[in-house]
């Protein structure tokens, strides 16, 4: 992976992601659904955080808030020292950022979805080239060279001219990872990247993610793959009903959970 600029050394102390007191409510008034109920989370640079939790506990919502696909209702999210979505002026008044600025903030954050969401009208290569060319204004030639490297890296050097519908789920997800990496993100978010895959295809995607983690990428991974969490995670977070119930080292949270809800959940998935 390309390492980030020279400011790296100076800022290693500050975490990559700081989530503080985040609430998320969908809708307003009587129909409001209070999904995140005060989430605090710190993700260190170069670390892998695995988020566990039952369906509907707000894991996806949390990830989507981190890259501003959802607007938070309260609290703050700071990524690499920059507050997401808002600017605070000298008097402490919050100003919503212009969509263009938010689009720029998202460029630093890669996201991988459960259902891949590759662009079906583009080949694997075109999918990976799209953002560097259209967002960064990179030349097609450079973007192509880079995209070929990335596809090679995820083991798809021989599938570059295939359309998504011509690829297996595991291959599509690996293209999706390459597409996110093409923007040189400093943070990668994975929302159940293997949940839509046939069991025999899960391994190839997890292998790419392990490789990425070994390379020092900061990652937040929502997954039910406990084995992956145990092996790769630096930090494991258990969420339930919109709050973080328990967090810590994988050995502690997975193998000797303190909270009853964590124990119950793990009993189900293990």
């Amino acid at each position: 992976m390309t390492t980030t600029s020279s400011t790296d050394a100076g800022t290693t102390a500050t975490p990559m992601v700081e989530v503080r007191g985040v609430h998320k409510e969908f809708g307003r008034g009587a129909d409001a659904v209070h999904v995140l109920r005060g989430v605090d989370l710190t993700v260190a640079r170069g670390s892998v955080t695995v988020v566990l939790g039952p369906s509907g506990s707000g894991k996806s919502t949390l990830l989507r808030c981190v890259n501003e696909l959802e607007e938070i209702t309260a609290g703050s999210i700071v990524v690499d020292g920059e507050r997401m979505g808002y600017r605070e002026d000298a008097k402490g008044v919050l100003h919503r950022l212009h969509p263009k600025v938010i689009a720029r903030q998202r460029q630093r954050i890669g996201m991988v979805f459960q259902r891949f969401h590759l662009f079906p009208h583009m080949t694997a290569l075109e999918n990976v080239m799209e953002a560097p060319v259209q967002v960064r204004g990179m030349s097609k030639r450079d973007a192509r060279t880079r995209a070929l490297q990335l596809l090679e890296r995820v083991g798809l050097g021989d599938r570059t001219d295939h359309y998504p519908a011509q690829l297996s789920g595991g291959q599509q997800q690996r293209v999706a990872i390459a597409r996110a990496l093409a923007m040189d993100p400093e943070l990668m978010l994975f929302d159940e990247p293997t949940s839509a895959l046939d069991p025999e295809l899960v391994g190839e995607v997890l292998a790419v993610m392990k490789d990425l983690a070994a390379d020092g990428m900061t990652m937040i991974v929502v997954t039910h793959e406990i084995g992956f969490a145990r092996e790769v995670a630096d930090h494991v977070v258990f969420m339930d009903q919109g709050v973080i119930v328990e967090e810590g080292a994988p050995a502690q949270v997975i193998d000797s959970p303190r909270e009853q809800r964590t124990q119950e959940f793990l009993a189900h998935v293990l």
Partner: protein, 325 residues
């Protein structure tokens, strides 16, 4: 002899005498219609043949084609604009687009064309300026909005309202996950629309737009309301009145409309094949084969691309989903 299936069933079909009877009745009726067309001297087939290629008629065909394609082109651009406005966050935009579609779909095209023809009477001078404030420049309506432009604008503005709903259905047929993925890559909304959403929506937009074009061809016969007097229908009608032979010239008009519609239908057939199914089996084979990358002519590749979009299931098939405003 070498049939691998033993004791293949060779059953007699269910007797259906009604089918033959129905076919016979329909054929007799059809023969009567054709006979009535050919042998009835009132059709004056000699006149039909003589005037079918009359210079005024051919010129009428040209004007009709210009009106059809000109108004469709303007309407498509306007329709995309309206469809995007309908989806805007800005309530004023949404409301204006809604009101536009409501008005132009809700009033007869004939009335609208009369209105555009009377524009010069209603507003002798058109000017650009600030409402209730100063004017920057003005011109005589009659000089600028000629009958042709009034007809073209009238047809285009009306058509835009219909196409807007088709485009909107196309845009909303694209999986929202596509927009999210593009956002997550840091793309701006305009880029997302142009690079991600519209290309996928085309599959749903193109077939009904073909229908609209065929419909527009015939709607151009209403431009007499403006009045614009060079199109095919008016031309044949005028000749018919002059010769006191209305019927043969109506037949000429019908023949030309049918001819152009047939050409458009062939075009539409190919467009639908590009943007929809038809190449399904081929792609299926390719997928099963696995290895082969995309090759072949550009048309083929484009068709395959559209087919793959369909297969990926990111678009819903029905173009008339969620069309009601």
């Amino acid at each position: 002899m070498s049939d691998p299936i033993p004791h293949r069933i060779h059953a007699r079909p269910v007797p259906r005498p009604g089918r033959f009877l129905a076919a016979a009745v329909v054929l007799v009726l059809a023969a009567m219609v054709v006979n009535g067309l050919v042998t009835n001297p009132n059709y004056r087939w000699d006149t039909v043949w003589l005037y079918l290629r009359d210079v005024v008629v051919i010129r009428g065909v040209m004007w009709t084609l210009v009106l059809t394609f000109g108004s469709m082109a303007i309407a498509v651009v306007l329709a995309v604009l309206l469809a995007v406005m309908r989806r805007s966050d800005n309530p004023v935009m949404r409301w204006v687009a809604w009101a536009y579609i409501w008005f132009f779909r809700g009033t007869p095209i004939y009335t609208q064309l009369v209105f555009w023809g009377l524009l010069a009477v209603l507003y002798p001078r058109l000017s650009l300026g600030i409402p209730f404030g100063p004017e920057f420049f003005s011109f005589s309506t009659r000089d600028v909005i000629t009958a042709f432009w009034a007809a073209l604008i009238g047809l285009a503005l009306n058509e835009a309202a219909y196409l807007a709903e088709i485009v909107r259905a196309g845009l909303s047929s694209v999986d929202p996950g596509q927009t999210e993925a593009a956002k997550a890559l840091g793309m701006k909304d305009s880029k997302i629309l142009r690079r991600v959403v519209l290309p996928q929506a085309m599959r749903v937009i193109v077939p009904p737009t073909g229908n609209e074009t065929i419909s527009m061809l015939k709607t151009t016969s209403l431009v007499i309301a403006v009045p614009f007097t060079h199109d095919l229908f008016y031309a044949t009608n005028a000749i018919g009145n002059r010769l006191y032979q209305t019927i043969p010239l109506l037949v000429i008009a019908a023949i030309w409309y049918l001819l152009i519609t047939s050409v458009l239908m062939v075009g539409q057939h190919y467009l639908e094949r590009y943007y929809g199914r038809g190449f399904g089996t081929e792609t299926g084979r390719r997928r099963a084969g696995g290895g082969t990358g995309p090759s072949g002519s550009r048309k083929e590749r484009k068709a395959r691309k559209q087919d793959l979009i369909r297969q990926s299931g990111t678009t819903k098939d029905d173009p008339f989903l969620e069309v009601t405003p």
